[in-house]
């Protein structure tokens, strides 16, 4: 019973049995253990994916030179450049400048490609998967910091992180797959945390948020959903000239960073930019048509929702939990960020790959964790009459 009472007092914030430094060390140890048990394990255990050779190849292609052929151009426009830059840096640090393996022929079966050696060497693949693990650890850290800020309680913030660690799309989809998805999750979480910090703090805080947003869209274009939500939020919540300046900052600065980091747009003025964007859209639409022509890719929009966002089933109880926190100051930034990520990703995707579902799951679980754990703590306090001592859930900084 003593242990139960101690746990209860820790969860309600009424007891602090360790010093601040010890508590921080304990939190880092728990987060590290969880990352090892989930992300690290997934990175090692995930089977080789047919796309991985393509990612090694595109990372080793010269980024700043002109595109010499159609494949170079495709690599440059298929995804923004930041993940290529990161992977390339890691490979060069390892002394890998070239991989003598054939490229994947996507018209042939995966086994045919594996038989002819169209997959990255073990050392290369593992190193890049560890990069994913590092970014996912960063994501979890930002989720923890955000929840800690909202709930004002380390134990509850850790509890809110648990679903992120054990989430199937994040573990099985993003972690063990070379690509942009793990980095996207990292920047999405960083953007959410920066949004919580920047809310109501003026231009320079918003500028910092815009810089994070620039890195977010330079990782994957889906990141623009959160940016648009942030711009709409600042337009609605600001007063006076800031109603225009802050949203404009959130749109212009990320666009400038995106342009600066992606050399395919350089050296031709506005005409060049428009031409490349036009060609990018054409390539993406062609890819979509090519994918949708296959039998396995036939999904209705509702089926996509079922597959990529299994929490849709509990929409009504989830709504009841979420709206119960609508008067909190952190609510609208978190809800707008999560809502944009869930709804717009669902509208955009056309095949329910797990890695595409990862941003939707992560965003929803963060919003639900913040609102749900607050509801749990409030209910517990009401049921037991426990005093949070001013530092329990809901006592965090807005």
């Amino acid at each position: 019973m003593q242990l139960v009472r101690l746990l209860e007092r820790i969860l309600t914030g009424a007891a602090r049995p360790f010093s601040p430094l010890s508590r921080s060390v304990l939190v880092v140890a728990i987060l590290t253990f969880l990352a090892g048990a989930t992300f690290f394990k997934s990175a090692i255990a995930a089977p080789v994916n047919i796309d991985e050779m393509s990612w090694v190849d595109r990372s080793l292609k010269p980024l700043w030179g002109p595109p010499y052929d159609d494949l170079d151009f495709f690599y440059a426009v298929h995804h923004p450049s930041l993940s290529r830059i990161v992977y390339r840096t890691v490979l060069h640090a390892q002394g890998v400048y070239e991989v003598e393996r054939p490229l994947v022929d996507y018209h042939k079966a995966p086994q045919w490609n594996f038989d002819r050696g169209a997959f990255p060497p073990y050392g290369v693949e593992t190193a890049l998967r560890y990069v994913n693990v590092a970014f996912l650890c960063g994501m979890a850290a930002f989720v923890y910091l955000g929840l800690r800020r909202i709930l004002g309680n380390r134990a509850l913030a850790l509890a809110g992180c648990l679903p992120i660690f054990f989430n199937v799309p994040i573990n099985n989809g993003a972690c063990g797959y070379l690509g942009t998805d793990s980095m996207l999750l990292f920047w999405l979480a960083a953007f959410w945390y920066a949004w919580l910090l920047a809310r109501g703090r003026g231009f320079f805080a918003t500028l910092g948020l815009a810089v994070v947003g620039g890195l977010l869209v330079s990782t994957k274009v889906n990141g623009a959903f959160a940016l648009v939500a942030a711009a709409a939020y600042f337009a609605a919540s600001s007063r006076g000239y800031k109603r225009v300046v802050l949203p404009a900052t959130l749109l212009v600065v990320p666009a400038a960073i995106f342009y600066a980091l992606d050399p395919i747009y350089h050296g031709g003025g506005a005409g060049r930019v428009i031409g490349v964007m036009h060609e990018t859209v054409r390539i993406m639409l062609a890819l979509k048509a090519q994918t949708l022509s296959r039998e396995w890719a036939q999904y209705a929009r509702l089926d996509l929702l079922k597959e990529s966002f299994p929490y849709w089933f509990f929409w009504l109880p989830a709504l009841a939990v979420i709206v119960s926190a609508r008067r909190e100051k952190w609510f609208w930034p978190t809800a707008a960020w999560a809502g944009a990520n869930v709804v717009l990703n669902w509208v955009l995707i056309y095949v329910p790959f797990l890695r595409y579902a990862a941003p939707m799951s992560m965003s929803f679980l963060v919003l639900f964790g913040a609102t749900g754990l607050r509801l749990v703590a409030d209910t517990y306090r009401e049921a037991t009459g426990a005093d949070a001592g001013g530092s329990g859930a809901g006592g965090g900084r807005p």
């Binding site: 299994p310 509990f314 929409w315």
Partner: protein, 274 residues
Amino acid sequence: MTTATVVIAALAVVVFWKSAAVATRNRVLGAFVVLPLVANIPWVKQWPAITDALTLLVSAAVLWAWLYARQEGIRKRRRAYFLAAACVLVMPEALLLPLAAVAIEGWRQKRTLPLTTTVRACALLAAVAALSYLVIHPLAPPAALAGFWEKLKYGAAWDGRFWIFSGTDSLDVYRLSSTYGAYVWWPLLPAFLALGWRSRRESWFTPLWSWGAIVSVLTLGLVAEPVFPSCPPLQAAMLLPFGAAAVARLETEFPAFFRHFTRSRGAGDASEAQ
């Protein structure tokens, strides 16, 4: 047979909707509660799964009888017993669910309900099940009575995978749903339990949450690796209790909006709220 499956499943959904409407005191809100279940049942699937659909219907009927007896008071309790007996007559394997319902209700109302009444009701249900098993279901000979316990266990452990996964027209989406396993809802559970705690004084709380708990525990405990997105009974067992609690919470959050939806509380609620 496929048509019969669809008709029985549709009946089950209607009964679930009626139960949700009783709990939320509004038909439209009841429809919102059961909407995900409707979207998840494979209506166009060309596969006869009458037993699965019947299991869903019996489960829904037991819930409705429980809620009905609870809402309408002691005079209607006999009708509820008869409805439960009818369910057992149709599907003797489902005996455990109405038995548990009668036992829980008898224990909950031990001050007003004599123990003999509860025991008699349980005995009646067991007798009807035995009668049905031995006489009406000729494929089950008396010699198989020894295996009746196994049937009882798995008759109350609802598994919808056979229905969803069988057949050549099973969409990839149903097969892929196994990715998420049986426990996709676990991150949401603490908050939903908090919702339930806040609505514990509602008249529908005991029937709805007990029914949901019985079906969920039996399914998760007895079925080997159930798949939540492909198991309509498990979905219903979570959807209805959480959905009713959610509506109750939304009513307190947005009273002006919900005033247009819901009728005033009936006598059953008032007596339960003590």
